[in-house]
């Protein structure tokens, strides 16, 4: 009750300027996942802000999370840069997802230092609407440079970092750890820091990725382990068995 009273009092005073109003009108790119949009104060990936995604384990849908945003931007003829992706961004999958590949630049620098440099250049130019970078090692100073570059170019700056860097200090406006609950097969997003918002957790069922991927996300029910030696008969069986929804 008291907080409500305080809110209404503050809101009634025209002369009171509140820091929390500052970033609400920042334009943002919808993430494509209503649950995530709702949890973010900017209602999407905020332009001109650095976002850190901390990934504990590969192959849990960490990059699929950005597909709707990438699709949306590239189809508006805007440039997206992927800097130092850990593997080859696979064109057939991106094409399935509706990403316009001629607007997607892949940059493969030799090390993290060059990657951060390239990322800063792309952000600062303002030419790229989104710059997605994968780095192993960074420092708060380097992240700060990216944050400033993102502000300069008013573009989307997203950095993937390993999950163990969660404890490091970072100037990023938004930090989310990504982990999967193997039993429930849900991607759990823990918003551990968000400018002008509340840290919270969001769960995305993996079926949420079906539509962004353009094809059904791999089936959910385990059938058998590879540890079992598969005979030719098993293979034939697997071939006739329909994929589980």
């Amino acid at each position: 009750m008291k907080t409500v009273a305080l809110e209404s009092l503050l809101n009634s005073q025209a002369g009171v300027w509140r820091g929390s109003d500052r970033y609400n009108d920042a334009d943002a790119v919808p993430t494509g996942f209503p649950a995530l949009d709702a949890a973010l104060p900017s209602r999407g990936w905020a332009n001109g802000c650095l976002t850190e995604l901390l990934v504990g384990h590969e192959g849990i849908g960490e990059f699929s999370l950005l597909l709707p945003a990438i699709k949306q931007l590239t189809n508006k003829a805007q440039w997206v840069a992927l800097i130092k992706p850990p593997f080859i961004p696979y064109a057939p999958a991106l094409a399935n997802a509706g990403v316009r590949l001629e607007q997607t630049l892949v940059v493969n620098p030799s090390d993290d230092k060059a990657a951060l440099w390239a990322s800063e250049q792309c952000l600062r130019s303002g030419v790229f609407s989104a710059v997605i970078t994968w780095v192993q090692r960074s420092t708060p100073q380097k992240q700060r440079r990216l944050q400033i570059a993102a502000e300069t170019g008013n573009s989307l700056a997203i950095v993937y970092r390993p999950g163990f860097t969660q404890g490091e200090h970072s100037p990023a406006a938004l930090r989310i750890t990504l982990e999967q609950n193997p039993t429930q097969r849900k991607l759990q997003l823990n918003i551990i820091k968000v400018r002008n918002g509340k840290p919270q957790s969001v769960e995305l069922g993996l079926h949420a990725f079906d539509q962004p991927q353009g094809v059904a996300w791999p089936g959910m029910t385990p059938t058998r382990t590879t540890a079992d030696a598969l005979s030719l008969h098993d293979l034939a069986l697997a071939a006739v068995m329909p994929a589980q929804p």
């Binding site: 384990h57 590969e58 192959g59 849908g61 960490e62 990059f63 699929s64 597909l67 003829a77 440039w79 992706p85 593997f87 080859i88 961004p89 696979y90 064109a91 057939p92 999958a93 094409a95 399935n96 316009r100 590949l101 001629e102 630049l105 892949v106 940059v107 493969n108 620098p109 030799s110 060059a114 390239a118 250049q121 792309c122 130019s125 030419v127 999967q180 609950n181 193997p182 097969r185 991927q213 353009g214 094809v215 059904a216 996300w217 791999p218 089936g219 959910m220 029910t221 385990p222 059938t223 058998r224 382990t225 590879t226 598969l230 030719l232 293979l235 697997a238 071939a239 994929a243 589980q244």
Partner: protein, 470 residues
């Protein structure tokens, strides 16, 4: 006609790093005339302790034993003046260099384009300051008067005949470039100012001092024509600069590079060209030249962009030995599409700068580090994509579920995986010796990571991970 004389009085010195106004040590350029060696230019530090041009070397050493001197290099100066001429050509098509340190520009035709004399003035001074050059400008309706004004520090422009006459009359005769014999004769006759000189009868002057002086005075006020040849720029651009001090690393090359790029930008603007490829030749002592080729996606004439790309590229080079000369050759020039000043269309300017950013990235990371991944029509997973150059069109295909990440080389699975999909058999490529016969499955590990794994049909003991459903 309106002539602007651009006088670079400190040019011999400003070719060197000593010429910078912040250089702490006194330094000077000397010229030997017979056995006598005289200073012809001195830097600011030398000027402060009383070493000025005209001092003999002996006297200068007496004042400052630590004075650094270098002999005047006429060839290098001529080369520099030619580069400045190329730079000046962006302001007028009628430019004429006047050795050793003056460039004459016919400015009347350019006034409208550049928005008046004041704006031209401002541009020249900014450009000169950026090249760390001292510049004095004289403007008059005749070339001789413009040179005279530039050299004597007369800054008011004489844009019509009347102003020209008034300004000329006010000058003392010592400002005129006459020889000692004439000066002596005039002084003995009690003539002190140009006004007095011009009041004398021309016939009497000619009788006494020959036709040279009379002709000079006539050309000064425009009574006699003073035709000038316009400088004809070469068909190809190749300019070099000797380094005054050997450059041990590429950082020291920025200064001469800047100078060459100024010349290049003038040359490109004049011809409405952009550079698509240029080569920097770094000459070493008794060694083969190091050659650095820089390519651009789009022809560009943007000096700052070329400088940034070239500097970025140079910092990545390790020199085998110090550099003594830098040469810039523009190998590939192409007509440039000037940005149409369209009020509504914004995307054109943006597309242009996207290429600039990519050039910049490619200069440091190498052209191979940038690509666009395009799908290709092949069933073999590793051949179903292509790293393409920029500006390619995407063709429409549809695939079954594919991972977002593909491993460059399939990796042997080192942990148990759980198969969660039906098999997808891919058999292809027997005709080009890249035979693929695999059964692909989607599989998970115990942490929930989803992989695209396969077994080959020849050997179904091992699982390979080929992609990751990131």
């Amino acid at each position: 006609m309106l002539w602007a004389a651009l006088h670079f009085p400190q040019l011999p010195l400003e070719r060197l790093p000593w010429g910078h106004p912040d250089y702490p040590e006194p330094a000077a350029i000397i010229q030997s005339i017979g056995p006598k060696r005289t200073l012809i230019a001195a830097n600011k530090a030398a000027d402060l302790i009383g070493i000025t041009p005209g001092t003999s070397l002996k006297n200068a050493y007496a004042i400052a034993p630590n004075l650094q001197v270098q002999e005047f290099d006429e060839a290098a100066q001529a080369e520099h003046l030619q580069q400045l001429t190329l730079w000046a050509m962006q302001y007028s098509s009628w430019v004429s260099p006047e050795a050793p340190d003056i460039i004459l520009i016919e400015a009347e035709a350019s006034l409208k384009l550049f928005g008046g004399l004041r704006e031209l003035y401002r541009r020249w001074l900014t450009d000169a300051a950026r090249q760390h050059l001292t510049l004095r400008i004289g403007i008059a309706t005749t070339p001789k008067a413009a040179i005279l004004f530039a050299k004597s520090g007369q800054r008011m422009p004489a844009t019509d005949k009347q102003t020209l006459n008034t300004l000329l009359n006010n000058l003392p005769i010592e400002r005129l470039p006459l020889d000692d014999f004439v000066f002596k004769g005039l002084r003995q006759s009690g003539i002190r100012t140009v006004k007095q000189l011009r009041q004398l009868k021309p016939a009497a002057l000619t009788r006494r001092f020959n036709t040279g002086l009379t002709h000079y005075l006539y050309k000064l006020d425009g009574t006699l024509p003073d035709p000038r040849c316009a400088f004809v720029p070469p068909d190809t651009f190749s300019q070099g600069a000797d380094l005054p001090l050997e450059a041990p690393d590429t950082g020291a090359l920025t200064f001469p590079l800047n100078r060459l790029l100024n010349a290049l930008s003038g040359y490109l603007t004049l011809n409405d060209l952009g550079v698509r490829e240029l080569t920097l030749l770094l000459s070493h002592h008794k060694m083969e030249d190091t050659s650095v080729t820089i390519g651009f996606l789009d022809p560009t004439s943007n000096r700052a962009h070329v400088l940034k790309t070239a500097t970025e590229r140079l910092t990545r080079i390790t020199l085998p030995s110090p550099v003594i000369r830098l040469t810039l050759n523009a190998n590939d020039l192409a007509p440039i599409e000037r940005n149409a000043r369209d009020l509504f269309k914004k995307s054109h300017a943006q597309a242009h700068s996207a290429e600039q950013v990519m050039d910049n990235l490619a200069a440091r990371l190498g052209r191979d580090a940038l690509y666009i991944a395009m799908p290709d029509d092949d069933h073999r997973p590793e051949k179903a994509w292509l790293a393409q150059v920029l500006n390619s069109e995407q063709r429409a295909f549809q695939w079954p579920a594919r991972p977002l990440w593909l491993c460059p080389v399939p990796q042997l699975a080192n942990r148990p995986l759980t198969v969660i999909s039906a098999v997808e058999r891919i058999e292809n490529g027997w005709w080009d010796n890249n035979d693929v016969r695999r059964d692909y499955f989607i599989a998970c590990d115990k942490n929930g990571g989803c992989y695209w794994a396969y077994k080959t049909r020849q050997n179904n003991k091992h699982w390979y991970i080929h992609g990751i459903f990131a």
